[in-house]
Every structure is written in structure tokens, then in C-alpha cells.
Amino acid sequence: MSAPMAPPRESEVTEDPLTAHPLGRPIKGPSALGSDPKRLWHLTWALAKTEFKLTFFGSALGYLWQLMRPLLLFGVIYLVLSKSKLATENHRPYYGAALLLGIVLFTFFSEASGGSVSSLVNRENLVRKIEFPRIAVPLSIVITAMMNLTLNLIPALIFLLAAGGSAQWSWLELPLLALMLALFTAGLAMILSVSYVSYRDVRPIWDVVLQMTFYASGIFIAIAGLAPLNVLGVEINLSHVLMANPFAAILQQARHVFIDHSYPTAASAIGGGWLIAIPIGIAIATLVGGFFLFDRRAPKVAEQL
């Protein structure tokens, strides 16, 4: 007994579980989606709701704080721009409401994508201790940001109506645009969260990208009127290039349908016609590519954390 060298599986031979009984369902290990869509939804919703509650019940002024950030940013930019020369060139009706809409949408975009970067790592105790569809983690971040977006749109609406704007049928397009933005952001959230597990410099890189997006998507300066850029003798229409960014295109279209029809549609801002397929294509590719990347990496995430 002191030095047993007998093969360990000998004790099983008498049992042979595989022939005696039929088999149950196989355990395949973790995956992005899991096998039960209902469970995925319950989980995502529960996680999103918890996160939402935390911002609101953390302090008595929860909702106010949530509004403060975009409103303060709006206040500063509005004050400065309305007194600057830039503003005269960018003047369109309801500029204030358009600016606030831009800031609110960008707040959503940065909250959802920025928040998802470390989401898997932050929820390490869940990922390593329990089996659940892994995609619930980044999706819940996007859904929480959607809840905040809904609340943040209220002051934008008030601002628009106070400035003399009126309700239009085209507002009905806004939820559709919000959904498109959410799907594009969800694609990014999947890529970012799963990349951050292996590469920790995703965080600073993404912060820079977000900052660039803030200045380059026409949030406070219309990009439609930018002068062309001359690179090695080739003239490039900068505003068309910037419109290829799905966020910029969605914002442009949202202003057209929500604020005033004098804001050009995304299609005309990018140079008309089929060119609008570029930002749409990028958004779809981000979503699909993000999902495939996440799906491929999901089974190993628990081991890499």
C-alpha cells in the first residue's frame, strides 16, 4: 500500500458507466450565448438593473448627478461657442438642443464602450465562480447606458421645446437610430471587454479613441462645412471621411429627424447616395466581428483572468 503503482482507472473498470446507462446532456463549458436564451436575457437584465440601481440609490441625488455630467459639459461648450466666432459659421436653428443631443448621445457611447472595457475583469468573481452566458457582461453595460440615455434625453427634449421646436412625426425614427447606435456600441463592447482580458493597454488606447471621437464627430462643430484636406496633391473631403464613423453618421441623422430638418441627413452629409452604406457597413461589421471574436474567446476567459 505504501507505493501503489496500480493504474488509477482500474477501479472504474467494474462500473463502466458509459454502457450501463444512457447519457444526460453533455457539458460543453462556457460560451458567449449559453444554451438558454431566456436565461441570457434574465441575467443580462438583472445585471443591468443592479448597475442602474447602484448609480441611483448610491446617493439621494442619484438622478441629478447622472444629469449633471452632460449638462455641465453642455453649459461650458454652449457658453463659449455662443460667444465665439466659430458659432456664427455653425449657426443653425436650435443649436443648443442639437449640441445637447450630441453630448447626450456621446455620453451614452462613451459610458457603454468605456464601461465595457474592464467589465469582464471587474466581474471576475462571477466569471470564475459560475457558469453563465459570458456575453451578458458587456451587454448589461450597454443596457445600463441605454437606461441612462433615456433619462438624459429628457432635458434635451425640454431644451428643444423651450427653444420653440415642435413635435414631429420624424421623431419616430429616433428609437431606431438609438437601437442602431446600441448595436454598434454592443459590438465594440464585446471587442473591448474580451481584448482587455489579454491586453491591459486597451484602456488608455480606448480613452484616446473616445477623445478623438468627441472632437471628430461634429458634436459641437458641424463637420459638414470643413475645408478639404490636401494630402500629397490628392484632395480629400474631410467631412465625408469623418462621416464614415457610424457614431457621427447616427448623430447627424438624429439631428435631422429630432431637432430640425434643416440639419442635413447622414446620407447627404457623407456625399450622397450609396456612400451611406459605408458607416452602416462598419457598424454591422463591428457587431458581427465583435460577436465572433467574443464567441471565440469566451470559453477561455475564466482561465485567463
Binding site: 482507472r9 453533455p26 463549458g29 453563465f132
Partner: protein, 450 residues
Amino acid sequence: MSEPDPEPVVVDGVHKRFEIPREQVSTLKEKALHPFRRSPTDVLHALRGVSFSVPSGEFFGIVGRNGSGKSTLLKCLAGIYRVDAGQIYVNGRMSTFIELGVGFNPDLPARDNAMLNATMLGLSPREARRRFDSVIEFAELGDFVDLKIKNYSSGMLVRLAFSVMIHVDAEILLIDEVLAVGDAAFQQKCYEEFERIRRGGSTVLFVTHDMSAVQRFCDRALLLEHGRVVELGDPEHVGNRYLELNFSLQAREAELLAAQAEDERLAAEGTTISTPRLASSGAPVEALAGAEPGAPKRDGSGEAEILELWFENEQGARAELLPTGQRCAVAVRLRFNREVRDPLFGINLHNSHRDHLLSASNLWSEPHSGVFAAGEEIVFRVSFENVLAPDRYHATPAVATQGGAWIDRRERMDSIVVTGTHGSDALLELPFDVRIERRARSGTAAELTL
């Protein structure tokens, strides 16, 4: 039904390995600078062809030392890790309890946490709501439902988490040593709940170090070492084997060899191998096995030198393990560097709690041991009836002058493990008889004579 139901859990030849890169590339920058450099990886085989099945309603224990792969096995069963080879089949609703209160958020009240936790464990929101009152009742937290759990005592937290866990009503429960928490009264409650679960016909897989819990609850147990099944069956038998692995270097080495043989077989399939010399906690296996930090102390004039110490069993052969209840001996070999007259030889034994249990010397029996010449080598031997309780014992041999000055003393020079089948918490296993005598009805019903 002519066709029998599938077994709740069937594990068939499961392999799991972890690839640990020697240099961790953790930034995109490095990846971009060296896109094609693949850093060499160490492969750690956590599970090597594990197979077993658990019939319905069985309470099945999984035991093993640190780093033996038992938690990895549980995580594979739970679907947290993907297995590299082999299959796991499960029949029935399964819940995993690797940690109590997964996803608890300190800033939320008990209500929200219980709901979230229950959803994580697999209940639908409606089911969770319906069971909420019963969860709170079991946890005895009725007055604190709306208190943020950061203000809970640790005992209250554990009660809440455990209560959610048992209300999930899983048919198969995977439990990883969650019971090592809470006060004695709560543990008792947990154990009672375990009994209830057991009677209720759920199948339970229970990972633990605690052999007494295994012997108390488990119908069968599985012993893992280096990711291989070493023993499967009767908990008593598995328990003894576990003790042996814990305390016998020889038995561990045998298992290591067997594991390496398995690795070589796998290496033929083209993977680099490193044997899991490191336990999951990162501490070397040897360190976990009882050796203590710090070099042993040594005193003395050096007129004689203690060279070697060993233990002998009943047959007089050198032993690594001594069964309790048999005669045994401690022997010490030493060499004199100068002529010494009438030295005293002694040995002290201490258990793992440093209780002093034996102090043997020739001081009273034979103080005039004689004259020993320079260069002379002797062996002195202390033999005794082994009534020591199962534990690890350290021996401190010493040679001293008649006046009491150390010539050589080597503190905790070596150690031995005493094994026994029934631990009693007593320091010694003194031989005893128990007799029960029935008396006439008028007096006391029975009398116990020790």
C-alpha cells in the same frame, strides 16, 4: 419505463490542461511590435483522464491535496472551464456553489442581492420572487431585509448566501468547501440542511479537505492526486489513503511517477510537459506537506556530532509512517570528535502543535554511559510503545555533558507521521477497554466502565 434514466453525472476520461506562457504579453503594444513571436508556454496538466459516474441521490465526495485538481474538476463539471478531452454528461438541473453569495454587492439591500444571486444561480426572476420570503425566513433575517448588506455581520451574510443556495432546488449540487465559514451553530444548521438535501434525493458532489465531513456525509468518495483518480469508493478507505498521501513522501513520489508516465504518453501526442510541482496556491508541494520555514537550530560544543536520525517500525525497519498502537523506535547515529566521558543522550518529540510529548534519555537509567574515543561512531535508540495520536511529530536529538552543557543538539532534526484510522482529538491514543454492564432495573440502567 424500460429504458433507465441517465445517470445524473457521468465523467468520461476528462483531461484539462492550462497553458501558462513563460513571458506574459499583456499589452497590445508588445503584440504589435512582435506580432509573430510566440512565447513558449508551460503546460500544466490539471486533470489527466478522470472518469467516474455518480448515481442518482448519491452524496459524492471529491478529496485531494492542494493542487491535486479537485477544484478544476468541479469547475469543469460546472461548465466554467472547457475540458480539453473527454466528456461530461449531466442529467438534471445543476447548481454550482464554488463560493457563497456570488455577485453580492455591498451597496444593495438583502432583497436585491438575493434576487441577483438567485438569478445567477439559475432561477427565473419570477421563481426568485416567489421564494424570497422563504429565503429570508431560513436565513433568519426578517428584520434586515432592507438593510444594505455592507452593514451585515459576516454571519448574516453567510446565512443569506447559504439560504439562497439551498432554495435554488437543484437536482445536482456542486459544492466547494463553502461550509468552512460561519459559527458553530450555523455550521450545525448547514449540516442539518445537508442531511435534508440528502434525504430529499438530490445528487451532491462535494469538494473538500475535511475528511470528517466526507466520512459523515458521503456515500462514496474520490481521491485525486496530480489530476488522476487514485482511489474511488468507500469514504473510510479513501480517507486513509488521503492521509497517507498527505504525510508520506514515498506515496506522493509514487503518484508523481505515475503522473509523469501519463505525461510522457501525452507528450507522444506533441505537447510540452511540466509536472505540477506547484500547487494551485503557488506554494511548492513540499512546503505544503509539513516542512516548516526557517532552518532548524543547532547548538553544542562540537565534541560530538549528530549525523543522522531515523524512525523504526515494529520490525526494526526504517519507516516513514508509524501506525499508532505498535512498538517503534527513534535511532540516532553520532560521531565523537574528541574523547568524552559519560555523555547523556536524549530525544524529545513534539507534535505539530509543539506539545512536548516525549523526553527520553539515559539520565536516570544509565547515567554512566562510559568513555567514547575520538572518531568513534555510535547509534543510540529509544524504543517505546507508540500511543501517539495521528499527527506529524518532530524529533530533537541531543548529546550533553553530565553537567548539562550541549555537545550537539539538533532541534527538529527530522519528523515522522503517525497514522491511525480513528482520530479522537486526544494527544495520545492510550490503550483502553470499554465495558458496559447491565444492572437490575431498580438502579441506573447501565454503567460505563472505562
